[in-house]
């Protein structure tokens, strides 16, 4: 092992680090270099994505600290693409102060995500979690002129740091029992059979930290305030990139590391292990997320509670376990992330035009911008799980995998609950679309003068179209992504 080889295998991360430093320097050097900073950040991300494509098929460094496999490469690219869309989103955001620093933080968070995705070792995973977390805390509180942003940052930080403490404690207990930090080695050390109390404590504490990251109830309380208060690009990245990477790592930890202590969440046949814990989290998230979302009148808060519910659905795949279950979870969380970035892009533009993101700010959006409304309809309906959009296929995949798990449809209760939840969710999703398409321009608008149409520049238009068409296309042709994910799983 020499440094040149290390550098070669870690070239995508290196590229992002260099870009982050360059953006930081550019931002400091010229006060009005916001446009250049965005361009450099976007170019750096694309370069890193290209570097991922050039990586070898399989490689392992330092006993799993850095793993290169089809799965990690695929999800590094997905994280980079999400970061790319976030950069475009940040470009249109009206917080031009300290653009360089903001983008540098975004890039640092992206490195954290890439480390999370590309590691099978507890220490490295924790470092990735912290790097992502610390960057995102600052990003959430970045808008110093807005007290809501400060609230978002503080809440996210307090919840996040507590959750990290739990995770670290849990991981140390697991290390104490197994004497190793490699996931595969932990999986071999743990034996199937009754779960020992110490291991149970370690597992539950570890899962608490991840439940925070994916905003699963009852560890979701930060999400509404952060989604609503943080600058929109930060919220979008917290909701998408951070979530995807967390699900990838959570899946690896429970399926590889804790694999033997699976337990069972089947109805009337619960066996102690991580599956019943996740099932409880999922059930609670679905119920709480959907019910509380019904009462929201702010689109960002609504998206936050729907994110809680979606975290619940996504957990179904992990509870089902196995290669199929993991694939379903990965597919769903990927689709969800892109949908949410799109939805947040629309929210950002509406906020720019109307100064807010309540339902009333969206009223009669169709008459102001058919493109925005059409794209929002696609994103919202995909979240609601209606065909022919990708969210529908994702739900079918998840639920069929969960139904197959165990003998005699043991997870039927959870699938039924999830379907009930998505039935409830249709009401509030339709309420958003009602504001956009049905409400008259006269009623509920803030300014009485006739509504002007909303102008989008080329990049905003393109990114929205790409995301919307992508969601539609993946709904019609899901096999493109499904086959790729299934093939990348060992």
């Amino acid at each position: 092992m020499n440094y040149l080889e290390l550098l070669k295998l870690a070239s995508p991360e290196v590229a992002v680090v260099v870009t982050a430093l360059a953006v930081l320097a550019l931002g400091l050097a010229s006060a009005r270099g916001a446009g250049i900073c965005s361009a450099v950040a976007a170019a750096g991300i694309l370069f890193a994505a290209a570097a991922v494509l050039l990586l070898p098929e399989q490689a392992t460094l330092f006993h799993g600290m850095l793993v290169i496999a089809p799965l990690t490469s695929l999800f590094k690219i997905i994280c980079l693409v999400l970061a790319f869309f976030t950069v475009i989103l940040a470009r249109g955001d009206n917080t031009p102060r300290h653009r360089g620093e903001y983008l540098a933080l975004l890039l640092l968070a992206t490195i954290g995500l890439m480390l999370l995705v590309g590691s099978e070792e507890l220490l490295m995973i924790f470092i990735g979690l912290e790097l992502t977390g610390l960057s995102l805390y600052v990003m959430a509180g970045f808008d110093k002129t807005d007290p809501r942003s400060a609230e978002a940052g503080l809440k996210y930080f307090l919840f996040g740091s507590t959750a990290s403490a739990f995770t670290l404690f849990g991981l140390s207990l697991v290390y104490g029992m197994c004497g190793t930090t490699g996931l595969a080695a932990i999986g071999q050390k743990l034996t199937a059979g009754p779960v020992q109390p110490l291991l149970a404590a370690g597992m539950v504490m570890t899962l608490v930290g991840f439940a925070f990251k994916i905003a699963a109830a009852p560890f979701h309380l930060w999400a509404p305030d952060t989604y609503q208060g943080a600058p929109i690009p930060s919220a979008a990245f917290i909701a998408s990139g951070s979530k995807v990477a967390s699900f990838v790592v959570l899946g690896k930890i429970v399926l590889v590391g804790f694999g033997p202590a699976h337990g069972s969440a089947a109805w009337h046949a619960m066996i102690a292990g991580w599956a019943p814990v996740l099932a409880a989290l999922a059930a609670l998230s679905i119920v709480i997320g959907n019910l509380v979302a019904l009462a929201q009148s702010n689109v960002r808060r609504l998206l936050a509670y729907s994110a809680v519910a979606h975290a619940g659905y996504t957990l179904l795949g992990l509870i089902a376990g196995g290669r199929e279950g993991f694939a379903a979870t990965l597919f769903y969380t990927t689709i969800y992330a892109f949908t949410l970035v799109g939805a947040f892009s629309v929210v950002a533009l509406v906020r720019r035009e109307t100064g807010g993101d309540d339902f009333k700010n969206f009223s009669a959006l169709w008459s102001r911008s058919p493109l925005l409304s059409g794209c929002m309809a696609i994103f919202i309906l995909s979240l609601a799980g209606l065909p022919p959009l990708a969210g529908f296929f994702g739900k079918f995949y998840l639920f069929s995998v969960a139904m197959r798990a165990g003998t005699n449809h043991g997870l039927l209760w959870l699938v039924a609950l999830a379907l009930l939840g998505s039935f409830i969710s249709l009401y509030y999703y339709i309420a958003v679309l009602k504001a956009i398409f049905v409400d008259d321009p006269e009623t509920g608008t803030l300014n009485p003068e006739p509504l002007s149409s909303i102008n989008l520049d080329f990049l905003q238009r393109m990114s929205l179209i790409v995301l919307a068409v992508g969601i539609l296309f993946l709904g019609l042709m899901p096999t493109i992504l499904v086959a790729r994910i299934v093939a990348s799983l060992p």
Partner: protein, 496 residues
């Protein structure tokens, strides 16, 4: 060839969306006509109505065994035909839509395309995709272009549909993981464990039957029909309710014959209650569209009763009733929503009876008389042929149900005649000048009522098409039954 109905309709839908507004209705009409012509040709060219013969079969998501698989037998062809028929007349009856016409016809064509898709799907997942695809367009059609309490009606209808969809989803996923296949051919050969069928069948059947207006989950139908714009009501009553009934027959009954046997008498009970109850409620309504909305529920009760008989006559009659009711309900809603409401701006029966519409709008009166006669089951119209077939089938299976239904048919005749008389032949009308503006008029109208406006050519064409269809089938039901009955005989749930 019949597969082109789907492609043409979806292509037309997106064409409408991106064309100048002047062309919108012409494109919609051309699309609907092309779909109708295709379904008509396919219907008459079908050589083998018995087998559910594959038309297209392409792998879709190989990892999960999903296929893009279309097939058709006599039942599918019949229902595709009524879809085409109703679609053409629905477009003709929305010729006067001036408010956001592109979007209107886009959603309209999506409903039509999705319906074709459901009737032709031979893959469970594909069928469900088309089935769910229809939900959201209905919401927008009602909430934007509807009348009277439209947002409430639209949301109620959407939530009921989606609740049904969720139940179906559950049962579909369960069937898929149990049998390991989504192909309807394979699934209809597969022997599901009876214990599994005993819960999967009612879940799936109820899910589909909600859309078919099963009592007591029928309340979305009258509310939704009343709130919908004319074309929306026509499609809802004419086609969308048939989606539920068709899928209940094609999927839940054919896949789970044992479960069906366990629950069939309960379906018959609910069907009969629906017939009588909805007819009784219709008798007390003062809004013309509510009368027609409840009559739809009552007529769909016949479909459920026919399905529950599990013999060739009953089930064949149910399919014939789906066709017949599709045509009749479309005609009734067209007269009530377009010909009357657009001119009088009220649907209150007492108010209408003072207007002397029988003199002012003779063509509307003629159409409504025909539709009412067909709806009451007068021989010579399609309603009679369908209902008598169902009752013949039911006589073998549930003699008691036939007696109760007989009473229900009296109620049907009563409310239909009441509505007909009050609408067109009101006794309070003394002749002479036509009284304008005296009737309580809906507050959301800001134009003057104008009941002397001529019935337009588009309306006449649309109504004539439907009148012709109900007469043709009423006089020569063999035309449809020749294709329906062999297909029903091939189903596996029939009692020997």
């Amino acid at each position: 060839m019949i597969a082109w109905t789907i492609y043409i309709t979806f292509a037309g839908a997106f064409g409408v969306l991106f064309m100048p507004r002047f062309f919108a209705r012409w494109i919609a009409l051309a699309t609907a006509l092309a779909g109708f012509a295709t379904s008509l040709l396919a219907f008459f060219n079908a050589h083998d109505a018995r087998t559910f013969a594959t038309i297209v079969r392409v792998p879709w998501v190989p990892a999960l065994g999903m296929e893009y698989h279309l097939a058709a037998d006599g039942i599918s062809l019949t229902l595709a035909l009524v879809t085409g028929l109703t679609a053409v007349s629905a477009v003709l009856f929305s010729w006067d839509v001036e408010h956001r016409p592109n979007e209107f016809f886009f959603w309209l064509l999506l409903v039509i395309g999705g319906s074709y898709g459901v009737f032709l799907s031979a893959d469970l997942f594909l069928l469900f995709v088309f089935y769910e695809l229809v939900i959201v367009p209905k919401y927008f059609l009602i909430a934007i272009w509807g009348s009277t309490n439209k947002e409430y009606g639209a949301m109620k209808l959407t939530l009921y549909s989606f609740l049904g969809g969720a139940l179906v989803f559950l049962a579909i996923v369960a069937a898929y993981v149990t049998a390991g296949s989504l192909d309807l051919h394979q699934l209809s050969q597969y022997k599901f464990p009876p214990q599994f069928q005993s819960w999967a069948f009612p879940v799936m059947f109820l899910g589909f039957a909600i859309l078919a207006g099963i009592w007591p989950l029928h309340t979305w139908a009258p509310t939704g029909h009343v709130a919908a714009p004319t074309a929306g009501s026509m499609l809802l009553a004419g086609i969308v309710m048939k989606l539920g009934a068709y899928a209940a027959l094609r999927v839940s009954m054919n896949l789970f014959p044992d479960g069906f046997q366990m629950w069939s008498k309960w379906i018959a009970v609910l069907g009969v209650i629906g017939i009588v109850y909805a007819a009784a409620v219709a008798l007390r309504q003062s809004d013309l569209k509510f009368v027609i909305g409840y009559s739809s529920v009552s007529h769909m009760g016949f479909v459920l009763l026919g399905l529950a008989t599990a013999n060739v006559l009953g089930v064949g009659g149910a399919v014939l009733q789906m066709f017949s009711h599709g045509v009749i309900a479309a005609l009734l809603f067209a007269v009530a929503g377009r010909m009357i409401y657009r001119r009088t701006h009220t649907r209150d029966l007492d108010a209408l009876s003072e207007m002397g519409l029988g003199h002012a709008l003779p063509f509307a009166a003629f159409s409504f008389v025909v539709a009412s006669a067909a709806s009451m089951g007068i021989p010579g119209f399609s309603g009679f042929a369908a209902e008598i077939t169902i009752l013949l089938g039911a006589w073998k299976a549930y003699p008691l149900a036939v007696l109760v239904t007989g009473a229900g048919m009296v109620l049907v005749a009563a409310f239909t005649l009441r509505a007909l008389k009050k609408t067109f032949f009101g006794e309070r009308y003394r002749g002479g000048h036509i009284q304008q503006g005296r009737a309580p008029v809906d507050s959301d109208w800001n134009e003057q009522t104008n009941i002397t406006a001529q019935i337009t050519v588009a309306e006449k064409l649309g109504a004539s098409l439907l009148i012709f269809a109900t007469l043709a089938v009423g006089l020569y039901p063999k035309l449809l039954l020749d294709r329906i009955l062999p297909a029903v005989e091939a189903m596996r749930f029939l009692k020997p």
